[in-house]
Amino acid sequence: MPIIKPLRALCLVGSLVAACSGPTYETAIPFVAVSPAVYVAKVKMILVGLPPTDAEVAAVVADPNALGGLVDGWMQLPQYGDKMQVFFELAFQQTQISDLNFVDIAPPNGLGNGKALPLLVQNARESYARTVLAITAAGRPLTDAFKTKQLMLTPALMQLYAYLDTHRADDLGKINDVFAKANPTVKITMENSAPRVSLVDATTPGNPSFLHFHNPDLATQAYPFAGCMGLDPYSIPIRSDLLFDIFYGELPPHNDATNELCPIHAGTGKGLQLDATDFTAWKLVTIRQPNAGEPTTQFFDIATLRSATELVLDTPRVGYFTTPAFDANWPTNASNQMRVTINQALIVATGAAIDGTDGTIPMTTPGLDADHAGPGTACFGCHQLLDPTRSVLASTYSWFYVPQTDAALIHQPGQFAFQHVVTPVQTIDDLATQLANHPLMPAAWVQKLCYYVNSAPCDPDDVEFQRIVGDFASSNFSWDRLVRDMMTSPITTNAAATKTHITNGEVIAVARRDHLCAALDNRLGFYDICQLDAADQIGTPTTIAQIVSGMPSDGYGRGSTIPVLPNQPTLFYRGGIENICVQVSQMVIDATPDPRQPGAKVWTSTAPDAAIAEFVALVMGLTPSDPRSAQVTTALTAHFTAAQAGPTPATATDALRSTFVVACLSPSFIGIGM
């Protein structure tokens, strides 16, 4: 560990004026400024996944302050939004879920077994991040996102919200099927041979074909009983969970003529009732609770969902910690009683957890688990904060995140008590406000960005870090201002000494999955080459998709206040990257145009010099004026030549592909900060 103590003399090193206004430090690690060619490449890679140009590097060499203008320009590119979306999905803990996780919030069968469920889950993962992007793009503060009741949703996702509002499990897991209870005589009919009913007719109450669903799988599914085979049509009593599953192509359980049970079938996917656009038509939707006597939105009414910009639900929703993705990520139960929910919500907002180190003293302790954590017990330290703070969640929601029905819990008061903020909260809106306004919030979000940009934390004692935090707060939490500030800071560029550099050294990290895949897409013109999008995951995953599933990726662990960031190039990283590069090489060298990848770069082995020049500039990100550019060009050219020589000469195509692989494996493509 470096020795850290005040030493103002270091102000003479570098040009960090801000650092010199506060304490400075000496270190066992001598500081060496990183060149503009390297840090311009790093910043552009992080922001948009693209390589720098000669002009951009030259501008920064001439005037380091030019980086700010470049960052402004890059932030206008569509790739910036794509990368920030991934960041927000992780930062707000909306990812790391699959359809299986929904069993814990929609018991007993979750979302069913439909083939298209990955599309819905991806919608759920993206929704809140898209919301944040919409809010920040409108110039509103990031804190507005914490409190928003307006979310970016697709019709499919709106349907999920409305379904969860209908299929309600109480604290004991007992289901209250609100729609079925109100419409006990309604039946669902599945049919194939009858004339196809439009989805709008099938989902419009009062229509003669209401809840008649066409599914061609009726004719082909195998059943254990002969009487079930090809049964067409058949009807079942209304049940919201079965109805929801039908939208995803499932064939519900039913009885044959002899009353044998024909079990549920996931179907082939041909029976999917929703359109592709139901998963792609994003819009801002306001979620509100009904006025007196007002009906709630019906989850099956797809025509309304497609046109509406409002969802009327009994279940209140606000900000990031009440989304289905967050709930599915952090299921609670009769033992946990929302403690995981509040702890993860605190981690997201403030970067801190209830871990027994918080000296906050609550005024009262509503909801305290006296059996387990009464005063004087070892557990009291955490529970005196955890239990009151989660109380408002427990009074609002059952353990399955639908409206609470336990009268005692509903009337239990809430008190926010965390990191020296102690205040009563009556609603989850109050909770959202406390999270948004918490004094730890600004530093926490600067720190999250530090991890994303530099693969390591900023030193909280770094005056440069503190300056960025202050600027973030004084900018009314302008996210884009913060990004610009961070990207141009010596904390990121290492163009000047900072305490963070002294603490961490200069961190060079592998291009983790999201950065790598974005770079491949954006530099080579691919659309989702890694198949990260669920819509591209239908069928057998490609070799690239299989490899990236094991690549180092950004993640978060339960209870952990810091992200999980595998940074080092293990043998698996190296081997995986090599195989990815080989796969990509056949798509970009002498390749037949792929209609699924209309924008993909294609180089020809008949013009190797031009191809190699682009490998250096586009893939390796070395501009012509970079002294390394000429050297690597020579080496790559020699490789192309050597590959076609020798006792078993390679074809020109394979030689150029191999040359591409070398470029693709170069330190500057697979390492951030090279």
């Binding site: 060496v32 995953p541 299989q546 094991g550 999980v564 080092q568 990283y573 081997g575 056949q586």
Partner: protein, 444 residues
């Protein structure tokens, strides 16, 4: 500029000791030459305490805190407090059944008795206390609750010590089965990636078919890559140079993998537990790492499990998986120059974040139990038997002391005993783990 002239220029730019070029010339990675922090496991600076006793380790871990402790040997009695334990009500799948662990009679749910007697005779059933009811403390439990020096996880301690004995390509453990980053491993403070079996297969398998022509150019490509690395290193800062060295090391490790064994990866079709085990065996055959972490479900976080149906089903499947794994190891030839079968070279160890409550009320689900967790040790150097036991603690049950070791220290004792069983030096064990002591009766 000619190649030779360029190389000459590069060598002059290459920094202290010409490390990169020496690596290029000798085939020894620059990381090793630099004695970097992530040198190859074969680094002679790392010593082996007992090569004969060294074992590969498959480590099962779950941050769910599965109810493995709810039906294991040592939790059954017909009288006294243990007779009130809420065992699984499924009288078919989970019926209390007598079995013997190395000649010692005991009782457990039926799936335990279905294990081969040779497995049971090598199976230690540890009743220990992890002292936490909190899922996020999975990494801490793997680090024996802070008792390790330096603060290292047990699988990483094992891997680092076993690597020089086994001559593995790397000294970090590998995680194949973690279901979330919470179950990921750390090594020397670094997060290690989670590599599911399918990803492993796609990562290590050389492209073939139409891409074989590129694979055939691997050797010449490596030479060019070395030149490229040298170019980057010539203008690098110290940190950048270190990164290039890491790349060189990892490249060398990739090339160290026995290509003849890659075809075995073709059998992996999914990320199931069976595939995790198959991948672990192949990785041992390739001698990649001494320790592989997997995840076998044994009922999961079963707060809501009406009639404990899932617990029963996954206990059956989980123990059957262990049985199948032992059968595979028993029929697979030993590796690394040894004779016999791999079953004598591979130890299986399990450690979950906590166990479940097993008091009488737990019939439709179970809660977290900080006082009782069951770990398994199976291997040549482990003795079959129940180690420790349970006693009433509060309204539930907790671990008993083991050979005078207080329950709070049984986790450390477990770690120490595992380390002793695989031949790690006692002095090192005592320095590396500050709590508990080796339990001789658990060793064969």
């Amino acid at each position: 500029m000619s190649i030779s002239r360029r190389n000459v220029l590069m060598s002059t730019l290459f920094g202290a000791g010409y490390v990169g070029l020496r690596a290029l010339a000798t085939g020894i990675p620059a990381g090793v030459l630099l004695r970097g922090s992530r040198a190859l496991a074969s680094d002679p600076a790392m010593t082996c305490a007992n090569k004969q006793k060294a074992q590969y380790v498959i480590m099962q871990t779950s941050s769910n805190g599965d109810p493995l402790n709810a039906n294991a040997p040592g939790t059954y009695a017909t009288t006294g407090p243990l007779s009130t334990i809420a065992h699984n009500p499924d009288t078919m799948l989970m019926a209390p059944t007598a079995l013997a662990l190395r000649g010692k009679q005991t009782m457990a749910a039926a799936p335990w008795a279905a294990l081969d007697q040779r497995v049971l005779d090598r199976m230690g059933v540890w009743h220990i206390m992890t002292n936490t009811p909190v899922h996020p403390r999975e990494p801490d439990v793997l680090g024996l609750l802070g008792a390790t020096t330096p603060n290292e996880m047990l699988p990483s301690l094992l891997a680092k010590q076993l690597a020089p004995c086994l001559g593995t390509i790397q000294n970090e453990p590998i995680t194949l089965g973690a279901t979330s980053p919470s179950e990921g491993l750390r090594f020397e403070g670094r997060a290690l990636p989670i590599i599911p079996p399918l990803a492993l297969k796609a990562t290590l398998t050389n492209p073939a078919g139409p891409l074989a022509g590129i694979t055939n150019l691997q050797k010449i490509r490596d030479q060019t890559l070395a030149q490229i690395d040298a170019i980057y290193r010539s203008t690098a800062t110290k940190a950048q140079a270190a990164y290039v060295d890491e790349l060189i090391t990892s490249q060398s490790q990739v090339r160290s993998i026995n290509q003849d064994l890659l075809s075995a990866l073709a059998a992996i079709k999914d990320n199931s537990v069976a595939s995790q085990i198959a991948a672990a065996v192949i990785l041992f055959q390739m001698n990649v790492s001494p320790v592989i972490a997997i995840h076998i479900p044994f009922g999961g976080d079963n707060h809501n499990d009406t009639g404990l149906v899932t617990e029963a089903a996954q206990t059956v499947s989980g123990l059957a998986t262990i049985g199948a794994m032992m059968t595979t190891l028993g029929s697979t030839p030993a590796v690394n120059g040894a004779t016999g079968k791999m079953i004598d070279q591979v130890s299986f160890v399990s450690l979950n974040v906590f166990g479940r409550t097993i008091g009488p009320a737990n019939t439709d689900g179970r809660q977290h139990n900080p006082n009782h967790q069951v770990s398994l040790t199976i291997g040549k150097h482990f003795a079959g038997g129940v180690i420790g036991g349970v006693e009433p603690v509060g309204t539930d049950f907790g671990a008993l002391p083991i050979d005078g070791i207080a329950p709070i220290d049984t986790l450390g004792a477990f770690g120490k005993t595992v380390m002793a069983a695989v031949g790690i030096d006692q002095d090192f064990i005592d320095k590396a783990v500050s709590t508990g002591k080796v339990v001789p009766s658990a060793l064969a």
